[in-house]
Symmetry: C2
Subunit: 417 residues, 2 copies
């Protein structure tokens, strides 16, 4: 058994039987001078005030003194591309010098550059490159991360990516939730025959992915010049027949109808939504779709068009925020930086941002009963942050606040100094 | 003696006898597979290709294997307020919920809130609170930081702040350069008689600061509703008679004439410059004033009006970038995040940003012959960053890249894991 004592704030978010909406998003159920007990099964046995929890501590229990730090559930990063080979630092330099993301993509860069590097990498190499990022994610206090494929874009390379995710799940403390994103981009060899690539995704990739049990969700990059609404509908409808949950890159670069499609299909999430209008928000609401907002990519693309988080919260949507970690449009693995962006540029309060990054994110990945809050019975995924007030996580930005990170009650990262 | 070997890139910026301008800012003088020798005096004895440096390594020399990491000069953070008591996380929350910085200031918050907390703190308490931030600065790869007073605003409290800076200089590895900023804000007790406060600054504070040798520079927050151009001119002219160098918070919130005043007075730097026009840029150029750009505060205020870095570089100004680290408008100690902001939102290339954050920044603090590049004879202030390509520092954002930081050849920080 493990007892965590002497937390300045135990931020529990306890008791959410469903994702939180509206004013509930500001309710973190903070216990001052809190303590927590973790069983040998790696699950939370009790979380509460010191006076309630201390009598339960057995003699042979390991005691972790939090040193008046904040204890938070591990962050759940519900939209990420954390498996790739190569970086795109060269393109980053070109963009700083004035090239646009679209110009770079047209010259063969962008997602296609990562596809070339990822195809060229063996599964071993992909796993080893991605472990660097697993370390960064943990250092940021993230304990569960979605991992999309989508840099393979051939049957063999998409399967290679998803097998790499399975290995990362086994070989690192981080909990990966795999998503098949074969429809991330049209690969070079299908440039002139997009319809054939859509067929390949539906007829070959999806059945193989499902057969091997390599993914829980299917996602599509829905944008007029990539996969339009009709392509996206076909792919996601097929994915549903394989019992995959549905996610959608929607309305990122234009109002292409992605949010409405997500609502029509009853997708679990609609992601990005920078251009979604009021009708799109209403459609998401009536269909119970969770919006996943990705301010890191707005920032990294040098834009200032952030999604309308305030309108979505006020409409009663169960908002999620995530990193969109990827080597092109959002090279950040840091959930604390996403909290900063949410509070600074999307007018979410620090409490709303924390809710969006933990319990709401967990539900959006089908892990709402498992993680995302400090409730008895859940897996003991938590982080001690080196501050006494949780609001400092969003306030002091560019700093790694995590002091120690636990997944399933086991130490996954500890700051050495 | 210390030998640093096996650097993937030794980013030297060598040979700058003055701050770099124009196309020079893109020239980092990178040595692939570089090595460096540090003498027992803590100064760089040699920096060059492995084949040149290895023959110089004596038998009893300590060898630091950089493990194919990038070696960079320590960052020089030339505009910062890293000494304060209390945080303003509560105000941060209010701003996220919709209050403006100006509304919070009008209600007694803002700088005045930090003044109350700093006045209430003893010198010991101030030193101990600020050591937390010294640790963060070092972790970000910063080895020299400017430290402004300006949260005291009384003779005793301004002196207390500057004495705290002196102690931090002695008690931490970080190199502080002290700046007197008595004219940061008009304190509450002088609210109705600003002219009297200006007199206090000129007649009492400046002589005391100079007499005790507590500052190298004098700075003023020049803005119509705080200290206008006439006040600023009087204060800085007086500072010059005490042999202090001149800096100026100029044109941050409006085109108030700050850049022109800095040029008129031949100040060392003009800082912020979000609203400076072409005439202001030309004035800075002809007077040889260095612009210090502070994108962290633009970001943290939720604005998208970044200063015109591109125009300034093209005009031949020796641009500097800095954190503006402070508890209100820029709560980040991270120079890597400032590199990211510079490349992402000000169209500076990663190389230009590195130059602005090292050698140019060092000159702007009167330390150009001492630090800011890896030249033989300079103090061995350097950082090994955990990447093989220096561009990753600006590209992967929200991550602490520093692996080991040395000041004067002595280990100041090392990542424990």
């Amino acid at each position: 058994m493990l007892a965590v004592v002497n937390c300045s704030q135990l931020v529990t978010l306890r008791g959410a039987a469903r994702p939180r909406v509206g004013a509930e998003m500001r309710e973190l159920s903070i216990i001052e001078d809190g303590a927590m007990l973790v069983g040998d099964d790696g699950r939370i046995a009790a979380a509460g005030a010191r006076s309630e929890v201390e009598p339960l501590i057995a003699g042979d229990c390991e005691v972790l003194d939090a040193g008046r730090r904040v204890c938070l559930p591990g962050f759940v990063d519900a939209h990420a591309h954390p498996v790739f080979a190569g970086t795109r630092a060269g393109e980053f330099e070109q963009r700083a010098a004035g090239a646009t993301y679209q110009e770079i993509a047209a010259a063969g860069g962008g997602i296609r550059a990562s596809v070339r590097a990822t195809r060229a990498a063996t599964e071993d190499k992909l796993v080893s490159a991605s472990k660097r990022y697993a370390g960064w994610l943990l250092r940021g206090g993230t304990t569960t991360v979605e991992a999309k494929s989508g840099y393979g874009l051939s049957v063999a390379d998409e399967l290679k990516m998803l097998r790499a995710v399975r290995r990362l799940n086994a070989e690192t403390p981080l909990q990966y939730v795999p998503t098949f994103l074969g429809a991330h981009e049209v690969p070079d060899e299908y440039r002139a025959r997009r319809a054939d690539y859509v067929e390949l995704v539906i007829e070959e990739m999806l059945p193989r992915v499902a057969e091997e049990g390599l993914a829980e969700f299917c996602d599509v990059f829905c944008e007029a010049y990539v996969f339009d609404v009709d392509d996206s509908r076909r792919i996601l409808s097929a994915a549903r027949t394989h019992n995959l949950g549905l996610r959608l890159h929607a309305d990122q670069l234009s109002l292409s109808g992605g949010a409405r499609l997500a609502a029509e299909l009853g997708a679990t999430t609609a992601d990005h939504l920078e251009h979604t209008d009021a009708a799109g928000i209403a459609a998401l609401k009536s269909a119970g779709v969770q919006p996943v907002l990705l301010p890191g990519s707005v920032y990294a693309l040098g834009s200032s068009r952030y999604p309308a988080a305030r309108a979505m919260i006020e409409a009663g949507l169960a908002v999620v925020i995530a990193t969109d970690f990827n080597p092109g449009s959002s090279p950040t693995p840091s959930m604390p930086l996403v909290l900063s962006l949410a509070s600074t540029h999307m007018r979410m309060t620090p409490a709303e941002a924390i809710t969006a990054a933990t319990v709401n994110a967990a539900y959006s990945l089908g892990r709402g009963r498992e993680t995302g809050s400090l409730d008895a019975g859940k897996r003991a995924d938590f982080c001690l942050h080196d501050c006494a007030d949780y609001r400092e996580l969003a306030y002091f930005f560019g700093v790694e606040h995590a002091h120690a990170v636990y997944v399933g009650g086991r130490l996954a990262f500890r700051r050495g100094n």
